[in-house]
């Protein structure tokens, strides 16, 4: 199964190893320092979990986490519903309108975050939409839609049409066919999309920073204000927890996406 074996070279392997090292060095540094007992954050004394305890006892952090989770759950739900419907609605659409529609669905990823943030702020202020958790949720739903849409679309493309035809042949009503056959088959794509949307909502800083207004502090906003005040070991511990949560979620999403590409393979081989 080894592919471009002829291209293998020691230089490429070395650069690849260094690239992985470069990608993980800061993450590892952060995690290691978060267990440091010392206040000075970079001078190592002994291992301690006291900063983790401090994070768990900090009321502001818990409130910010609650806000983040509420926004992420709501935005993920709305975005995944709309993205699933859109992916289903995109079948058998002629090329011209399809390009336009796909462009609109991908637009939130194409426009720089800072521009989306500013544009949404202007809109919210103009229509008198109060800045708070609701405006943050709306803003997050915007950029969560493409994150949810692409995995669902690719799952739909890999779907074995004969299963749907079989369901119809066996006298399933369109409604029954959708809920009993199509939706369960799509579920891995929908879950992966929802997870990607959830992670990006949870981590978003720039757009939230503009449309949050006072009182709607999410976790990234809180971390930003802490960093602005100076580097404290508490930020290390908080960041490490955040890091760990993201890694767990992305691992699950990756496994789901992996199963989609495996389902695709036999079809490609046939």
């Amino acid at each position: 199964m080894s592919r471009h074996k002829l291209l293998s070279s020691r230089i490429n392997a070395t650069v690849a190893a260094l690239a992985i090292l470069f990608l993980y060095l800061p993450i590892v540094t952060l995690v290691v320092l978060s267990f440091n007992d010392n206040d000075l954050t970079t001078i190592w004394t002994t291992v301690s979990v006291k900063w983790y305890l401090a994070v768990l006892q900090n009321g502001d952090i818990l409130r910010a986490t609650k806000n983040s989770l509420m926004v992420a759950c709501a935005a993920t739900f709305f975005a995944t519903c709309m993205a699933t419907l859109a992916a289903l609605g995109m079948v058998r659409i002629s090329r011209g309108p399809r390009v336009l529609l796909e462009g609109l669905l991908g637009l939130p990823l194409l426009v720089p975050e800072i521009v989306t943030a500013v544009a949404l702020l202007i809109l919210f202020v103009l229509i008198g939409f109060p800045l708070g958790l609701t405006s943050v949720t709306v803003a997050h739903t915007v950029f969560c839609i493409p994150f949810a849409y692409y995995p669902i679309k690719s799952r739909l493309a890999a779907l074995d049409q004969s299963l749907l035809e079989a369901a119809s042949d066996l006298y399933a009503s369109p409604r029954r066919r959708f809920f009993r056959v199509e939706l369960p088959l799509l579920s891995s794509g929908i879950c992966a999309g929802a997870l990607l949307a959830f992670i990006s909502s949870l981590g978003d800083f720039v757009i939230t920073y503009f449309v949050a207004g006072p009182g709607a502090t999410t976790l990234p906003i809180y971390i930003f204000s802490l960093i602005r005040l100076g580097v404290t070991p508490e930020v290390n511990a908080l960041s490490a927890i955040f890091l760990f949560a993201s890694i767990v979620m992305i691992s699950i999403a990756f496994v789901l996406l992996q199963s989609i590409s495996e389902q695709k393979k036999p079809k490609g081989a046939a």
Partner: protein
């Protein structure tokens, strides 16, 4: 047929209407705000049209009301473009060998590396940039390490320089370069490469004449994916760059924060989008041209 169309319309309408209302409309509104007059206490004066926000990009009005050329904003644009271009180049130089290496592995092994490369991208952007503060700051991890090895005795003072911003940007967007190049390399038929070797080409020549041209769509795609977010970056320059390496993103933010000049902020955003559209159009043209040549 009509029923099918109605079904598609119903299914698509929630997402389409939502995005029309909350991304398309805001962008158009921003375009409109950029030609409005600035309000005395922030905000804008509706209905009062002026091109003053765009004029401000190049000229400033002094106390006597005379216009004089002002290169401050041009300098920030130039710096942003330079940083974005440098980042794109450096990520390419790291990503190409990495992707080449991945393409020599089995699918399963490559998927693992792909996973390792993707994880940092999905972790929080703030957290990732914060980690670099810990490494780069005076007396930080890098300083401690360098002094321990005895290579340097003075603090390196990298934090709060454009170099620190560049490191942060490279770190943030490296996965965006590796993924599309790898995908493009993976699609190359191994027998084409084999044929080139059989015909007596050496490794460098195969790379130059066969692999790189075939991987070009991936390289161009990666370049766009890195350059676009870099040009509009806010977090890296804000946290790592300090006051002296402001980028467009920070300038835009300032107009909606302390400076309270919405039309100017909107104009900056429009110019940013136009600059990116130009780059994407150029990349698409380059891709098209390449296709025609290779045919």
């Amino acid at each position: 047929m009509n029923e099918q169309r109605l079904r598609n319309l119903t299914l698509l309408s929630p997402a389409v209407l939502f995005l029309a209302a909350f991304i398309l409309a805001p962008l158009l509104l921003m375009l409109y705000v950029s030609v409005l007059e600035r309000g005395p206490f922030g905000g804008v004066v509706w209905g009062s049209h002026t091109g003053i926000a765009y004029q401000k990009l190049l000229y400033e009005r002094d106390l006597l009301g005379r216009l004089s050329f002002n290169s401050d904003y041009i300098a920030i644009f130039a710096r942003s473009c330079r940083l974005a271009a440098m980042t794109t180049l450096i990520t390419f130089l790291i990503a190409l060998p990495t992707a080449l290496y991945m393409s020599t592995l089995s699918r399963k092994q490559a998927a693992w590396i792909l996973f390792l490369v993707t994880i940092p991208f999905w972790t929080n952007l703030l957290v990732r940039n914060f980690a670099w503060i810990l490494i780069l700051r005076g007396g930080g991890v890098l300083d401690t390490f360098m002094q321990w090895t005895g290579w340097v005795t003075q603090p390196l003072d990298i934090l709060y320089t454009p170099l620190a911003t560049g490191i942060g940007l490279t770190y943030s967007f490296l996965p965006f370069m590796i993924l599309p190049i790898y995908v493009a390399l993976e699609r190359i038929d191994p027998s084409v490469i084999e044929a080139a070797f059989d015909l007596g080409a050496n490794r460098l020549r195969v790379l130059q004449r066969v692999v790189l041209p075939l991987a070009m769509p991936g390289i161009i795609g990666g370049a766009i994916l890195v350059f676009v977010p870099c040009l509009g970056a806010y977090v890296s320059p804000e946290l790592l760059g300090g006051g002296k390496s402001l980028m467009i993103g920070n300038l835009v933010q300032a107009q909606f924060g302390a400076s309270r000049n919405w039309p100017f902020g909107a104009a900056l955003g429009i110019v940013l989008v136009l600059a990116l559209l130009l780059v994407i159009a150029m990349a698409a043209l380059a891709n098209q041209h390449k296709k025609r040549v290779s045919r």
